[in-house]
Symmetry: C2
Subunit: 384 residues, 2 copies
Amino acid sequence: MNYFSSNFKLGILGGGQLGKMLLYETRKWDIHTKVMDASPEAPCKIGCNEFVQGDLMDFDAVYQLGKQVDLLTIEIENVNLDALEKLEEEGLKVYPPTKALRIIQNKAKQKLFYVDQGIPTAKFQRFAYKSEIEDSVSNGGLSLPFVWKAAQFGYDGQGVKIVRKLQDLEGLPPGECIAEEMVYFKNELAVVVARSASGEIKTYPVVEMEFHPEANQVEYVICPARIDTKVAQKAREIALKVSEKIQQVGLLAVEMFQTQEDGILVNEVAPRPHNSGHYSIEASYTNQFEQHLRAILGFPLGKTDSKLPGIMVNLVGAEGHTGDVIYENMETILGKQGVTPHIYGKKQTRPFRKMGHVTIVNENVERAREIAQQVKEKIRVVSK
Amino acid sequence: MNYFSSNFKLGILGGGQLGKMLLYETRKWDIHTKVMDASPEAPCKIGCNEFVQGDLMDFDAVYQLGKQVDLLTIEIENVNLDALEKLEEEGLKVYPPTKALRIIQNKAKQKLFYVDQGIPTAKFQRFAYKSEIEDSVSNGGLSLPFVWKAAQFGYDGQGVKIVRKLQDLEGLPPGECIAEEMVYFKNELAVVVARSASGEIKTYPVVEMEFHPEANQVEYVICPARIDTKVAQKAREIALKVSEKIQQVGLLAVEMFQTQEDGILVNEVAPRPHNSGHYSIEASYTNQFEQHLRAILGFPLGKTDSKLPGIMVNLVGAEGHTGDVIYENMETILGKQGVTPHIYGKKQTRPFRKMGHVTIVNENVERAREIAQQVKEKIRVVSK
């Protein structure tokens, strides 16, 4: 198939910032795109060839989109999987494959998959209802503290809570969930793996994630991670194994814990371009969005090495600000060396909403980290 | 002015491949754009916020666009300057300024400007009509061979011809032109200069251009140029002087000859992102399109150094092929290290038409040059 400047149509489910950045690459290769998103104001509305408003969880909407394209991919994993399955049965290429999405969409299934495949992960228990947790704590089957996670539809720190006492469970949604052992980790790491339709597979370097203590959101992503090369090698091998075992086609971002004993535990995965790979736009030979395209179109994968060390700073809405967004001190950060802001184009800010990110590249990773901190301290995403 | 996610509107005259690549950057910063181009199929139609079909040489069309935006820039210099001048008088920011465009749009004026400003350039004579050239040769005022150049509206090697005998003048357009002394150069070089609305100025490294012997089009652009550092320094200084003297705001690409004696002669300039700067997307800390935005918006200029050596190969239509385009062997070149193709999205190919380009980055410039040659030899832009 000759994808370039041809009649080929790529369908994309979801029109947020990940889709927006993917569209830079489809434009670069002149690949015709048709995007569906629930919001008529989605960032992807500009930059795609065709935009259709539709509910990603609705069978008919997803099925109809699938019938109008030659290949279907996603930029968010919360989509109607029955529709994808039917499309696959009818011969459409759906990447990531529905089977992989079924495992990933439900965190309980995802954890069971790790256990089945011998992939190291933190101990956990699975509950059909939140109410079962209290019983389990009472009868000694589950010890405090633990990490509560909703089985489905978590995003941006939603759907995860550290439970130190039973009262912490109040206000959480009632449905299927897991209780995971607390991991007192040394570092949080991530590896983006690309696996192509033809089975070729490559990992990006290990990145190190520094989290905001309250919002459970990544503040800095540092590439390369400042860790021992043996630990990095182990992390890449485990990430590779997850991608292979799950039979992914496209990108898979594997988030991991480095334990105090330098063990690696898989935390969770995302079957798409990911926040932990944004640094690649400026720092890598092949950015993650181009790599995702290469993978799903069955092209040879690009080089995953870095040109330079890179650090990403998330731009999230400041606390106490909700409404029409403005970005303060952009000019100041543009005056620093090797700094590239990305603004996602969401018109409304709210506390901790992901509104953009900034990449810092520098020959020296420690110097990059200093500049990243200056950027973080200076820039403010506020309402008018 | 807070440009990001605001009501600010940037007008862009021209909707070709340069505009298309500029739009990746306006999307990255969520800057609202309104593009005008004569073609309803212009590559910029996707990726801008608003598109209007209009003749760039038409006073009313350009004036009307200007009244609907807060700042006006160009991606091609052949636009109606009277309209721009009136808009400027009425208070609109027009970058590049009309004065600079008046000098650049007419090659005879451009040459006179170099002479007035003490900028080295090849000797030339100016003619109001082509017929005057024959008289001048007959009476010994002009010696063969020389380079004939139309004063206006040359593009992609059009409007330039080497005249070795008088018959070579046959078929050339009759209007204003110059006859320039042949320069037997050692190298053709270019320097992209960024000058911001606030007067800040920076040069990119010197690039070396290898031309196709027949089509008078660049085949390879190599950054950094493989020349003596003193010559490179001289080229950067001269380019800087041109940008300052012409009072440019935005980018200025300065094309130069390196003579056999290592002198530098300015050949011509383009007041916008330029083919000789495309390598910067993958190779530079700040790509030329982002830099153009920084300059016209009055932001601090970004670092112009390279992350790695980079080489650009132009993808032009193969001889003997006119019609619906296909790109042969894209998959093969994607299998090589550090190779990024850009497809402009023109649906029709014709011999030597610029259809795209490919960037090769590598730590070693000689190795990059080898891969570039493989890319050039392998890829073919043909009709179906």
